[in-house]
């Protein structure tokens, strides 16, 4: 019997007033998968992630994450981690206090998550700054702290919104490696505009355009479909083509 999907959405829609932010989105993501979620600005990516993490209620449709309905926030929190676009940090705390506080929010002792958290901090060159206040952190350091905070409790599914934003090339590379390592047991829902990152680490890709999921598949599949047989094609070409002609491939 195949494993149940880590993320399963059926006809998920979200309407704000007269604006349909997400239109009847259906997708299924398997366990331990890195899912690259692509789309132009305003396509509905953040709204989708917010619905899947229980932060906003879908107008219609259903979704489960790790087998838990997204409306059931009480149980959902046991399965998810989230790195939103703006790192949700308390700037008056030090990095270490922030990570402890995040563990405490989940009613987990710091000791139970410290090993994993500190290993990630170490790999991200954050250890030396952990006892400094967050308000003195650079954008990249805040991003790293928020990433560790999102994954330190080893969630079933982690939602990452532009995780490499503000990182220098070395840190961005380390983070990509960490995401791949994290996917060993955790499903990574990765929203980003940096297409080479998706091409490099994503197992599957979904392209959202004007609230519609216009394509899903492996990066190679999408590139192949966009290949017109002429010049060499990559995921960027596929993305541009998909989001310009608004074609639904799947």
């Amino acid at each position: 019997m195949p494993d149940p999907p880590a993320v399963d959405a059926q006809s998920l829609s979200k309407q704000y007033g007269s604006t349909l932010a997400v239109d009847s989105l259906s997708l299924s993501i398997g366990p331990s998968t890195v899912f690259g979620f692509l789309g132009p600005n305003g396509a509905g990516k953040t709204t989708t992630m917010r619905m899947l993490t229980g932060l906003v209620e879908p107008t219609s449709g259903t979704a489960t994450v790790a087998g838990t309905a997204v409306e059931d926030r009480r149980d959902l929190v046991d399965h998810v981690g989230l790195l939103p676009e703006e790192p949700p940090l308390y700037t008056e705390l030090t990095g270490r206090e922030q990570l402890r506080f995040a563990a405490e929010l989940r009613d987990m002792s710091w000791d139970s998550v410290a090993g994993r958290a500190l290993e990630f901090c170490d790999r991200l060159d954050l250890t030396e700054d952990l006892d400094r206040r967050v308000d003195g952190y650079s954008k990249g350091m805040r991003q790293k702290t928020a990433f560790v905070q999102a994954v330190q409790h080893d969630p079933d599914v982690v939602f990452l919104d532009e995780p490499t934003s503000g990182l220098d090339p070395r840190a961005a590379r380390t983070l990509r490696e960490l995401i791949v390592d994290t996917a060993d047991g955790t499903t990574v829902f990765l929203s980003t505009h940096i297409l080479p990152v998706v091409e490099e680490i994503a197992d599957e890709v979904g392209v959202l355009h004007d609230g519609d999921l216009v394509a899903t598949g492996t990066p190679a599949t999408l590139v192949d479909r966009a290949d017109d047989g002429g010049t060499e094609t990559d995921l960027e070409d596929a993305f541009l083509e998909l989001t310009s002609r608004e074609a639904a491939w799947d």
Partner: protein
Amino acid sequence: MWRTDLRRARTAAVAELRASWRRLTGSWRRVAGLGVSLLMFGVAFPVSLFGPATGLGRALAAGAPPLGSLGMLTGTVAVAGLYLGGASALNQNRIGEIGALVRTSMPPRAVTLGRLWSELVQTAILIVPPLVGGLVLVGYGARDPVVPLLLGVGLFAMLLTATLAGRAGGATLRYVGVLSRLGAWAKLLLFAVVMVLIFAGTQMVLQSILPDDASFLGGFGVPPFLPGRPLQAYAAAVLAPVGTPFRPLGAVVAVSVLLAVPVGLAATTRVETALLLRDDDVDSGESATRAVPDPLARWRAGRLGWRHLIGTVRDPKTLAHVFPVFMGLIPGSFFLIVEPDVFLTVGPPLLVGAGAVLAGSTYCLNPLGDDRDQLPLVLTSVKSTASLLRGRVVAGSVLGLGLAAVALAVAPLGPEPIGAIAVAASALVTVPAAAGLALGIGAFSPQFERHEYMNVERAHPSQLVLMGFMFGGGLFFGGGTFGLWLALTIALDGELAPVLAAIVWLVGLAIYAVAGLLGYGYAVSRFDSMTLDGV
């Protein structure tokens, strides 16, 4: 150069005024608040001022000017101008956000002039209508348009001078703060000292105008150079054309007032322009990771509540919304210091009441609203917001119980130690109960939008909630605690059966506990069902 700067300043001022207008009209809450204020003011002002203002007009027309009242009126206008000017100089956080754009788009002096221009207009909108209203009433009483016209010229000149002086003073204070590189707590302490000095100074001046028994500091004496006579002489000089006796001192004051306008303008422009070019981001220095202290570390709400306390230690601005209220307590504190016997008698119940209000007002009046930026973390982490909300109760109670501890220390020194100790002990119920009730009131109207208040830009509690708790909750907890103390004191004097006193005490505590639990329960139910849709 000046002409170019003024032209650019006008552009900046118009843009700022337009933005302020849109901020005001963009929120139904603000529009409603303004409407209620205007309604209250529109009714209360004419009713309360009709008699005095028309009486003043009649007296002026009759050639018998009440110089004491005129001095008082001039002084009031001057104090209002000083306050508004000073406050506008100190409330300059917003420039931090757009600073980079402004600094790279126009010369610093034009920026300063533009902000000054826009804020003077806003001050005028606030203060000129009531002033004109009052002058109309004076004119009505005098049956002569010249009297209010002269008085108006004198008062507007004083208002402009005082506003510019306040602005220059506030800007200088900020500049000193930047140069001194003081931490946030040191600045706060300095601010409190300045406030106390201002209060004491005001009392000294008032003493020269009002009867002795109207001043708290009646016995302190007033230096001869500080009486209200110059203000009276100024008013007399302004009204000289309608027959008020002219004194040379009035001419000196009038000339000084007029000269102060360009001097104040130049000083403000210079200091604020210098401030624009400096970085006033001072680190408080407190940076080491701190473990949750033992009493709090033992339970989850304590560990979660510690965040608020350590946040306040590192940045007292998190409590900016409470400062005005506690500054308002300065007069009462003075009274208690001047009369230590009274303090020993009524101090314990007052301290317990203040502790309850402090516990509720510090971290509980905008629950989760001030976590706006962290809500994605919070809402995807906690199964219920209950523990978070209890954390706020714990944090507030730590502060409130601190005051109760002082009450307990003072209680044995008073004339009724047993009653005072019992009241101090009741803080164990009233203080967390006040925090619970505050949670409920705050949950009714959480504020997620950041705005500037007391020079701090954050998601402050709504003014409605703040005032509702301070007055309603303050009366309920402060007045109630005082009532409990009174009942216990009477009982211990033998005028009430001790059993009955104990019952009164226990019933009172039960009422507080129920109120606190109801507030807490409402807040939990409200926030457990909250999503970002409602933010």
